[in-house]
């Protein structure tokens, strides 16, 4: 049995960047800049006090702050939000004691990063009082990826894929980009993300929340990794739906 934590109204979360006048300016700025991409500059960091948690993060442009959270990675069945700004602090209160929470931060449209924390009190494990480390959207349990020469299908093409798609994931290098594609597969298998297998054995994976898509060879090496712009792209891809959690012979390369 667990009681659902209260969802805060927008006004009860704090935003350090602006007063009311500033907020109006920021809203105007948002209208002017349209759908400018919001990037995560710092965080998310978490300060846990008892059964309350404050999630902090910083974005490069003003945006609404949205936290989706739940008790399992990828299962964001609760949410809280804060006002428009760049320096975000959203409070989650009346959480269950001694419990692990997983969350994403971002805007209403765009998840930017994930992290997790534990509340204090009697529970199934020792709680952590503060968790401040930044993690990639592939989750706290993601292992360190092997080098690209192990994980990328055709190594001579990697630089080209990085040049074209690396920015989708803010990859710092081709090695980082290949590593992220591998980590995406690890998470896809762990969480059972939507996947298809075509008649040649190619596996296509999509994360609707992050908007990320990857294709993998039958040996688990990566063919490509990018964020499609077209709604319905994954649905139109060939292959039969498969549950990656039960595909015995399909593994990320080690």
């Amino acid at each position: 049995m667990r009681s659902a934590p209260a969802i805060l109204p927008a006004g009860s979360a704090t935003c350090h960047s602006a007063g009311f006048g500033g907020l109006v300016t920021l809203l105007l700025l948002l209208v002017v800049t349209g759908r400018a991409e919001v990037r995560l500059v710092q965080g998310p960091a978490v300060t846990v006090t008892g059964t309350n948690a404050v999630i902090h993060w910083v974005t490069d442009t003003p945006a609404g702050g949205r936290v989706r959270f739940g008790n399992a990675p990828g299962r964001w069945d609760q949410r809280a939000q804060g006002p428009v700004g760049t320096n975000h602090a959203v409070t989650l209160d009346r959480l269950k004691p001694g419990t692990m929470y997983h969350f994403t931060v971002g805007t209403a449209r765009l998840p930017l990063a994930t992290n997790s924390f534990a509340t204090s009190g009697p529970g199934s494990f020792e709680p952590t009082a503060t968790s401040g480390k930044t993690e990639n959207p592939d989750g706290p349990q993601a292992a360190r990826p092997p080098p690209a020469r192990v994980t990328w299908g055709s190594l001579r093409t990697l630089e080209d894929h990085f040049d074209r798609h690396g920015a989708d994931f803010r990859a710092a290098s081709s090695e980082d980009y290949a590593g992220q594609a591998w980590t995406f597969l690890v998470r896809a298998i762990r969480e059972g993300l939507p996947a298809k297998q075509d008649t040649a054995g190619v596996i296509r994976v999509f994360d609707p929340q992050a908007g990320a898509f990857a294709a993998y060879n039958p040996d688990g090496t990566t063919k490509t990794y990018f964020k499609p712009g077209r709604r319905g792209y994954f649905n139109d891809q060939p292959g039969d739906s498969v549950d990656l959690r039960s595909l015995d012979h399909f593994r990320p390369p080690q």
């Binding site: 055709s154 001579r156 093409t157 990697l158 630089e159 080209d160 894929h161 040049d163 074209r164 075509d198 008649t199 040649a200 190619v202 296509r204 294709a215 039958p218 040996d219 063919k223 490509t224 990018f226 499609p228 712009g229 077209r230 792209y233 139109d236 891809q237 060939p238 292959g239």
Partner: protein, 93 residues
Amino acid sequence: MKRPVRRQHQCPACGYPGLAEEPRPASGGGSFEICPCCGYQPGVDDDDRGVTPSEHRRRWIVAGSPWFSRATPAPPRWSPQGQVEKAFGKGGK
């Protein structure tokens, strides 16, 4: 798994003949192999961006037919115009 016989394929956009994979394999979708010559990526440019190979070719020629890849060098004495004409005929349509 048995490796397929290594055969080279032609880019449907620029006619570059050195692709490792069939751009549109029988199993469906695109190969996702980025053409080192013009940057066309079957499965992405066509299926996601809605850019046909011929439209990509037109844009690439307008842009001056630059060699795309930083990692794979252009063949010696590479002629983009000659390559296009050989693959698609004069005018490259």
